[in-house]
């Protein structure tokens, strides 16, 4: 299994998706910096801390920018074997189709968690720049480190809700369907982010879970977790079933 994961990571060497995804997730820290600057100049009386910036950034990263990027990298990982015609050389090695998918999902999880870590580091760094110029209240590494587990948990939860896009990429053998799908779910997330019903929409539910908002909305946390797990399981089952029964024409 380690070899499978190593191979999945080796396949990413020199891949343009690596710098593209890093630049993509750094858009969240940049948006936070812009927001901080706007607040500083428009409403100088408003005081905000590093913790406030991290809190707001979770919305951008989990519901908007990072989600779209993670769907794109999922589509890339799962469709490239078709677009580069490599399954015909890998399957007869032999490599179990299920193991191949497990390797891909492991690589995807590592990539998503790593990108969430990059976002977390990026926010700390841009806030550092802001702190040097304008002084940011309670700017310290200890505050930042408190938010790291939430970011890592957020990455894992986002990975769980992304499995249906792996199936879409595998089924359609390309980027288009998953990317359109991601646009649709992001629109849904934007609509439900400030709505209690968001607890029933898996992609907003994970945001509420990380923010600890569900109980305060009056819904049971377990219900949101079950919805997320059901969606995730459906995505995994469909992905594995499809590849294991597919004729590679």
């Amino acid at each position: 299994m380690l070899d499978l994961i190593f191979c999945e990571l080796l396949k990413l060497k020199r891949s343009k998706m690596i710098p593209i995804s890093i630049i993509g997730v750094l858009s969240t820290p940049m948006l936070m910096l812009l927001e901080a600057l706007q607040t500083h100049f428009d409403k100088p009386e408003l005081a905000f801390t590093l913790a406030d910036i991290y809190k707001n950034s979770v919305l951008y990263s989990m519901l908007l920018t990072n989600m779209m990027i993670y769907v794109a990298i999922t589509a890339f990982l799962f469709s490239r074997e078709y677009s580069e015609n490599t399954l015909k050389i890998i399957i007869p090695i032999p490599v179990s189709r299920s193991k191949l998918l497990i390797g891909k999902f492991c690589a995807l999880l590592l990539w998503i968690v790593a990108l969430n870590f990059v976002t977390w580091v990026g926010i700390f760094m841009v806030c550092g720049l802001y702190h040097i110029v304008f002084t940011l209240e309670k700017y310290s590494f200890s505050v930042a480190i408190e938010w790291l587990p939430k970011y890592l948990l957020g990455g894992i939860l986002m990975f769980l809700t992304i499995s249906p896009f792996a199936f879409a990429a595998e089924k359609t053998k390309g980027f288009v369907a998953p990317v359109i799908g991601s646009a649709v779910i992001v629109m849904g997330s934007a609509a439900l982010a400030n709505h209690d019903w968001g607890a029933f929409y898996p992609w907003t539910a994970i945001f509420f879970l990380v923010q600890g908002k569900i109980n305060s909305n009056g819904y049971i946390t377990a219900l949101s977790i079950i919805i997320v797990l059901l969606l995730s399981a459906a995505g995994f089952v469909l992905t594995f079933y499809h590849l294991n029964t597919e004729d590679l024409k």
Partner: protein, 343 residues
């Protein structure tokens, strides 16, 4: 006597208690015998069938590929060659029939069986952002037999050792094909399944691959199952020919037998074909011939060529060309599938 009876009964009973063991041994011996017979063939299919909806792509095909031989599979586009090969490699699931590899059902212990197989199906695909060396390293690691020398050795065999730092997306078609061959042979397989492996290669590359395959079978006893559109290539390397047409295997023949079967003939180019036919009919009644305009083909009468030439000349015919020939694989193939070339 009566005192003996219980002993005999005891012996009888003891003998019969051995029955299940004897039966079991008999079964095992039968299985071993069957195994030995089956192992005669490295690939053996039994009514192998693939259907997509109403389209029967491979129809009850029975391949028999003996150990250490080169089996050339011929057929027009859409004959079912690639689908048959894909079924052998578990890329496509058969609708019916079975496949035995190395004497065993291909679904039993697939991991061990398939490690002894190297393959190329259509144009080989690799990761465009990686070098040839890195691509082969991935395959070696996935196979679980990563050996440091295997990759450079394979690259050297196919002549890509000087280009090992070039990324795959910058490869020419010929280089891609060579890397595919390197991937197929780097683990020293006992069986190679190659679908159109010389596509995109230049004449020198084709010669090199042909020589390499011949050497593999001769020195290592590797069995090769190869399909190609280039009939002359198959003719030069194959020991056995299989011909597929419209999903069916319509011929499976030893190359030596085929050469014997192929008719020798003499081709005359003459000034008047009809007059030549009259002369043949009058003087050489038992001779087989064909006529196409002024070209006359006389089959199996090479010893009479001089005599015929003299008779043609005496009857005022101008003979502009006499060519002793043998039916080649292309003509044989064309006859077999009812006309038309391979493409």
């Amino acid at each position: 006597m009566s005192s003996l009876l219980p002993d005999v009964t005891a012996d009888f009973l003891a003998f019969h208690t051995l029955d299940p063991i004897i039966n079991l041994l008999g079964e095992r011996i039968k299985k071993i015998q069957k195994g030995i017979i089956v192992m005669k063939y490295i690939i053996e299919t039994d009514h192998l069938t693939k259907r997509y909806g109403t389209n029967l792509v491979v129809n009850q095909v029975n391949f028999h590929v003996p150990k250490g031989k080169v089996y050339g599979l011929l057929g027009r586009n859409g004959a079912g060659k690639t689908t048959a090969m894909k079924m052998m490699l578990q890329l496509v699931f058969p609708t019916g029939g079975s496949i035995r590899l190395f004497g065993k059902d291909c679904r039993d212990n697939a991991t061990v069986l398939y490690r002894n197989i190297g393959s190329i199906i259509e144009t080989p695909g690799f990761y465009g952002n990686l070098t040839g060396e890195e691509n082969l390293e991935i395959l070696a690691r996935l196979r679980g037999q990563f050996c440091k020398n295997a990759v450079p050795d394979a690259l050297q065999i196919v002549g890509l050792n000087k280009e090992k730092r070039k990324i795959f997306s910058d490869y020419s078609l010929g280089m891609k094909q060579r890397l595919g061959i390197a991937a197929a042979i780097m683990h020293k397989p006992k069986l190679l399944i190659l679908d159109e492996p010389i596509n995109g290669l230049d004449p020198i590359g084709i010669w090199e691959i042909r020589t390499f395959l011949t050497k593999l079978t001769r020195d290592n006893g590797t069995t090769v199952f190869i399909s190609s559109h280039v009939l002359s290539e198959i003719e030069q390397i194959a020991d056995i020919i299989g011909v597929m047409h419209q999903g069916r295997l319509i011929e499976e023949v030893d190359m030596a037998e085929l050469r014997n079967r192929n008719q020798k003939y003499t081709e005359f180019e003459l000034s008047d074909g009809q007059l030549a036919v009259k002369i043949i009919k009058d003087h050489y009644r038992d001779t087989n011939y064909t006529i196409q305009e002024n070209t006359l083909r006389v089959y199996g009468s090479n010893h009479l060529v001089g005599e015929m030439n003299r008779d043609f000349a005496l009857n005022g015919l101008n003979v502009t060309k006499i060519n002793p020939l043998e039916e080649n694989l292309e003509e044989y193939f064309s006859k077999l599938i009812g006309g038309g070339g391979i493409a």
